[in-house]
């Protein structure tokens, strides 16, 4: 159910919180198409539109292919644009994801992480957003409902920043976060308005005084220059993300950085993991700490651009690390997060041992015992200096 006026702590599902954040942001255009488990976002948001609580043009199209195409059209015309999807929906947007980033359009999308077909499955894993990891979209991952809500505001600011101008995707776990109720702190409408500001597009098709063209044919003499600029903008997004999250922390008291480090400073062995499963893993950290085991956790928040220097800095003192991916990068060597982390550590003189674990595909439960099991393996590698099994599936 879409919520109306609220203040302070409120029990909300991830979907309701995102819809509420969208209401507060009040984008100009939202092209939408339903898919489980993200449907609740657009369903709630459509109530806000129907009630006149927002000024947004809600465009109900006939597929995600059209939804992202309409996002691109609207954003190129100078509108602030948002949408939400999951799984096959994001997959069907693929072709346009690259158009959005290549045209430097700061569209903001919430991806409620769900497994990709086949076989069909509606539950959580990260195969959808990880498949889009090289599409030129900024990606921010969220552990909790609160964080997903907060991330949406920051995503708008990062995407629209003049040094960036790139689309951004906020990811949260399907059902686990999207459908579970959590008590969260809402920000007042005025503060949101002040934080996100009025959108003033740098270029707009509707600005007829300054005619422009998007996506024109480029030949070998110019294409690479465009891509180089895009790549630099993506690199700049990291510093902008740091800056914006610091501003967010100052204003609203919740401090997020590029990643979340939990009991990591004096740890010898750690798990690196995204989204909601980090919460489960933190319980395991606490249990093992009680037994005197020096374990910790790192949860990347910004995955694209990948803050490799900062992550290297945070992990370099460890003896061993297990990187847990909720997706398999089928014919690569280990999961995508593993690959990034391991490659980031390569330049160190003295590197922690790193292993890849694939867990929780298609919504398979990841429990504290699974995290403890993974920690035991990392602790063993820390003690022996040897990784017994470099990559494997857990939670089978």
């Amino acid at each position: 159910m879409a919520i109306t006026g609220t203040k302070g702590a409120t029990g909300l599902t991830g979907n309701t919180a995102i819809a509420y954040a969208m209401k507060q942001i009040n984008p100009d255009v939202a092209p939408v198409y339903p898919i489980t488990p993200s449907t609740g976002i657009v369903e709630d948001f459509s109530s806000y539109v129907a009630d006149g609580a927002v000024d947004t043009e809600l465009i109900t199209v006939e597929s995600e292919h059209s939804a992202m195409s309409a996002c691109i059209g609207a954003c190129a015309a100078g509108a602030r644009v948002m949408t939400a999807t999951s799984s096959q929906g994001l997959a069907l947007m693929w072709e346009m994801l690259y158009i959005a980033s290549g045209m430097r359009l700061p569209i903001v999308l919430t991806d409620v992480n769900r497994a990709l077909s086949a076989p069909i499955n509606i539950h959580c894993d990260h195969s959808d957003s990880m498949g889009a990891r090289d599409s030129g979209w900024i990606q921010i991952y969220s552990e909790t409902v609160q964080e997903a809500y907060d991330n949406l505001f920051m995503a708008v600011r990062i995407a629209e920043h003049e040094h960036v101008l790139l689309p951004a995707m906020v990811c949260m776990d399907g059902f686990i976060t999207s459908h579970a109720i959590e008590n969260i702190n809402l920000i007042g409408d005025d503060s949101v308005r002040e934080f996100v500001g009025e959108y003033k597009p740098a270029h707009s098709l509707l600005d007829t005084g300054n005619p422009i063209t998007y996506g024109a044919m480029t030949l070998p003499d110019t294409y690479i220059t465009f891509k180089h600029q895009q790549s630099k903008a993506m690199a700049a997004a990291k510093d902008v993300a740091v800056e914006i999250s610091a501003e967010f922390g100052r204003k609203f008291g919740r401090n997020y950085g590029l990643f979340d480090a939990y009991r990591l400073a004096d740890a010898e062995a750690a798990i690196v993991i995204l989204n909601s499963a980090a919460g489960t893993s933190k319980v395991a950290v606490d249990e093992l700490r009680k037994q005197g085991k020096k374990v910790g956790l790192l949860r990347p928040r910004l995955f694209r651009p990948f803050p490799f220097e900062e992550i290297t800095g945070a992990l370099k003192h460890l003896k061993a690390v297990a990187v847990l991916d909720r997706v398999d990068s089928m014919n690569a060597f280990g999961g995508p997060l593993f690959n990034e982390v391991r490659s980031a550590l390569y330049d160190l003189e003295k590197r922690p041992k790193v292993m890849s674990r694939i867990y929780g595909l298609g919504g398979r439960d990841y429990k504290v015992a699974d995290a403890v099991g993974a920690f035991e393996e990392v602790l063993k590698a820390a003690a022996t200096g040897r990784v017994e099994t470099l990559q494997k599936y857990i939670t089978l």
């Binding site: 198409y33 339903p34 077909s117």
Partner: protein, 288 residues
């Protein structure tokens, strides 16, 4: 002959109950459909039609996209393929082309066939490839919670049309015919026996055969549009808003106006795609 209560009863034709289990995967039941959903009625009509057409189970391939209707292949004991939202017809084209001997049946929703997959619908019909396409037209996206679909009537409520739908609906039959399908028919879940015969005729036709089947989603379309239940929907939408093509000439115009036609609406002989292809290959091979 006397009945157990002593009264005299007419001698009845003893009909052997249809053995649905022969065509179902009982271990996949119960199905996911809500009480009153029309999809189950259509499924039964389809099974009886397949039986009456004398098709060998192993030569039948049932293919669907995604949606409540598209869950059908999971329950039936044929070769089955459950694919992606909107793409069933493309998968089916591949299956049929690879093995033209298979009887390929596509089970699809109005959203699946006409919204996200509308492009494939047009081109399948244009090619006239030998597929039987059963469109479960319940005027909504049932599976995702009742958004309007391309067959939702103007003015109807949906989660995405809180002030009434303003988009004009498609007539799937008109579209199929205009796109080139050589067999086009309509049935409803209310007219079960007629539907069974229509599906059988579609199965026996060579070329793209489309049956638009009007059925009810009481859970979303029904509730949002203030229907009391499935039976009222069947009476008011499927019975009262349709008229058989066989009766249409005998009825006064006011009894036909605004109603959809049921029965076989279009049937022509037109070269079938796989056969055309084979003929071409043989011709060229001979010419060598």
């Amino acid at each position: 002959m006397s009945s157990p209560t002593g009264g005299v009863v007419k001698k009845e034709k003893v009909s052997v109950p249809f053995d649905y289990n022969k065509y179902l995967r009982p271990n996949k039941l119960p199905h996911i459909w809500c009480p009153g959903c029309g999809h189950g009625i259509v499924l039964k009509a389809m099974l009886r039609a397949i039986h009456n057409a004398g098709l060998n189970k192993d030569n039948v391939c049932v293919i669907s996209g995604i949606g409540c209707s598209s869950r059908t292949p999971g329950y039936v004991d044929f070769n089955t393929l459950h694919t992606l939202h909107g793409r069933a017809l493309s998968f089916a084209t591949g299956v049929k082309f690879a093995n033209p001997k298979l009887k390929v049946i596509v089970v699809t929703g109005d959203g699946d066939a006409l919204a996200i997959g509308g492009n494939h619908f047009i081109h399948t019909c244009r090619r006239n490839i030998d597929l039987t396409v059963l469109v479960f037209t319940n005027a909504t996206y049932g599976m995702t919670g009742g958004q309007y679909s391309p067959t939702t009537p103007i003015g109807s409520q949906a989660t995405t049309s809180r002030y009434g739908n303003i988009e004009p609906p498609f007539d799937a039959c008109e579209m199929a015919k205009a796109s080139g399908a050589s067999f086009v028919a309509r049935g409803t879940a209310y007219h079960t026996l007629e539907l069974e015969k229509t599906i059988q005729e579609a199965l026996e036709h060579k070329g793209t055969s489309v049956v638009d089947i009007i059925d009810a989603c009481p859970t979303y379309f029904g509730r949002m549009n203030k229907f009391k239940g499935a039976s009222q929907m069947m009476e008011e939408i499927e019975k009262d808003k349709t008229v058989s093509v066989k009766q249409v000439d005998k009825l006064p115009p006011e009894k036909v106006q605004g109603k959809m036609l049921r029965g076989v609406l279009h049937k022509v002989d037109r070269p079938e795609y796989c056969e055309q292809y084979e003929t071409l290959v043989m011709e060229k091979a001979k010419a060598k």
